[in-house]
Amino acid sequence: MSVYKHDYRPFAGKVTPRWMRIYVLSRYGAAEAWSSKITVGLFVLSLLPLVIFLIGIYLANNPLARALIVKGSSGAIDIDAGYFLKMLEFQSWLALILTAWIAPRLISFDLADNALPILLSHPVSRFGYVLGKFLAMFMFLSIVTWIPCLLLFAYQAYSSPLPWFAAHLSIAAGLFSGAILWITVLSILGLALSSWVKWRVVATGAIFAAVFVPAGVGAIMSAILRTRWGFLLNLPMMMSVLWQRMLGAHPIFAEKYALPTPAILAMLLASCVCFVAMLNARIRAREVVRG
């Protein structure tokens, strides 16, 4: 390394393509998140349920192993849409915990020391900056949601003695689209709230609050007004209904509480637009040094 060159010299090499700057933002964001031992701990923790689901699939497809390990059990484990729905729900809520920890680390370091004027004085647009951070978050959450779920689906397809794969392809599609939808909402929500809260711990709390407080308010509204539309504020319930329909599993909630799918999708879209607007407003306000 040429650290002996103490004179200024211009750069004459080739510059990287513009889209690479978004990758750079993602890479540094992810590295920053990974630098914490708590991130590693949470990540490992969020993969543990998958091991249990993996064992479940193994046992379901190996009667001998099932008989040896689960002594006295004669019932078979059904690997169906309900099984994968449980898996997706588990992983999705663990993804929420990961979001609450990681999202503030992606944004708040930049905001705490007013780094945005320097970051955005480089050839990176506001959109590029947000996209870079979003991709870092999205990749993280993908590793604990749809990627392992689909791997377990593939393992089930491989292990099943019956022609299982083609008949259950809709489960894979539901797993993929359901998880993508959820981690998109989570990523945007996490980044938007983190950009507005200066302290990381408070931002973590705000992310949980943004999911559960409106849910409580919605439940109260529904109870008082005797309507199901209050559940439109209940993100966990909306997502559960949506996942159940996407995977084709048995309904979880009574029909009178179930919201129509277009209403759920419209509500999620409206929430995302709102979070993007929050994010844009915050970053726009901090991108220049006011003099």
Binding site: M1, S2, V3, K5, H6, D7, Y8, R9, P10, F11, A12, G13, V15, T16, R18, M20, R21, V24, L25, Y28, E32, F109, D110, A112, D113, N114, A115, L116, P117, I118, L119, L120, S121, H122, P123, V124, S125, E287, V288, V289, R290, G291
Partner: protein, 313 residues
């Protein structure tokens, strides 16, 4: 093509006009941007970086439209903001490398140049320390290092000596002079300290209330005033004055042997000493008047806001 071209540039933020009809061409290697608080210095810098869209007119940097081609401009520009602006949780070398990668360098080149830039600004020994542990002077230097790391064609320094003690200030000024001397990079230095601009710049743009109060080449101004000389003499002053007039100088004598004269281009100070020697006159003091930046700035500030925006002193 100038480094920065302004063509009737008008920028509004909300209902406030922050830059009003700026027109001028900046060609200097080191351009000083002067003006009182709220004059529009930072707004001009933000406009040049493409953060603000002009309402009317346009600004060009190296011939590129500051708003339409802001990505290309930002690739060619290194920016050191006035206030604290860094990621405190990162080490110095990692931060500079990150910024260089964002400017378009590959990871390996960015790392190499980050080390070089940090050694160049004098932070080589502390490059692995977290920036949050740096002193104020070090934080200013790390901002300079990140602005330099990708080898920009134009370096924009916003109040580079802000908050520095005299020694750190001197070091920063010396660094800016070194960069200027290398000749590979143009400098735009915004400051409210006339001395900083005076020491480092060869062209100055003075803003007042969002308008150009003065745009001048400091070197030319100094050259134009080089021929004005004040003398303090002892001896036959009148005879000396007559001889000096004979050389073609405009000359006025004052009591106490004081003489003020304007020399034509072909006459040098040495000729005055020769005449003085021939006539037995002692020259006790010779002041070659130098129009200081302070004079230029004060004259610019005296202009009313309603006066023409583009004033050449």
């Amino acid at each position: 093509m100038g480094v920065i071209d302004l063509e009737g540039l008008e920028v509004r933020l909300g209902n406030r006009t922050v830059l009003n009809g700026l027109t001028g061409e900046l060609r200097g290697k080191a351009i000083g941007l002067l003006g009182p608080n709220g004059a529009g210095k930072s707004s001009l810098i933000n406009t040049l970086l493409g953060f603000y869209k002009p309402l009317r007119g346009r600004a060009r940097v190296f011939g590129m439209d500051a708003y339409q081609q802001r990505a290309q401009i930002r690739e060619a520009v290194g920016y050191m903001p006035e206030n604290d602006s860094f990621i405190g949780n990162m080490s110095g070398v990692r931060f500079v490398r990150y910024m260089a990668e964002l400017a378009g360098l590959s990871a390996a080149e960015a790392l190499e140049r980050a080390h070089e830039a940090l050694f160049f600004v004098g932070l080589g020994e502390v490059r692995y320390r977290k920036i949050s542990t740096y002193s104020l002077g070090m934080k200013q230097l790390i901002k300079l290092a990140q602005a330099l790391a990708h080898g920009p064609k134009l370096l924009i320094l916003d109040e580079p000596t802000n908050g520095l003690d005299p020694m750190a200030r001197q070091r920063m000024i010396q660094l800016i002079k070194d960069i200027h001397k290398q000749g590979n990079v143009h400098l735009l230095i915004s400051s409210h300290l006339l001395r900083d601009v005076d020491e480092t710049c060869d062209e100055v743009l003075i803003l007042k209330n969002g308008r150009i109060a003065a745009l001048c080449n400091i070197e030319e101004e100094r050259r134009s005033n080089r021929s004005f000389i004040e003398l303090e003499t002892v001896g036959a002053t009148e005879r000396f004055s007559v001889s000096v007039r004979g050389l073609g100088c405009e000359c006025a004598s004052f009591p106490g042997g004081r003489i003020k004269l304007v020399m034509p281009d072909h006459i040098e100070a040495r000729d005055l000493y020769v005449i003085a020697s021939e006539q037995g006159v002692q020259i006790r003091r010779m002041n070659q008047r130098r129009d200081s930046l302070e004079d230029i700035f004060l004259r610019a500030m005296e202009n009313e806001a309603g006066s023409p925006a583009h004033v050449r002193l």
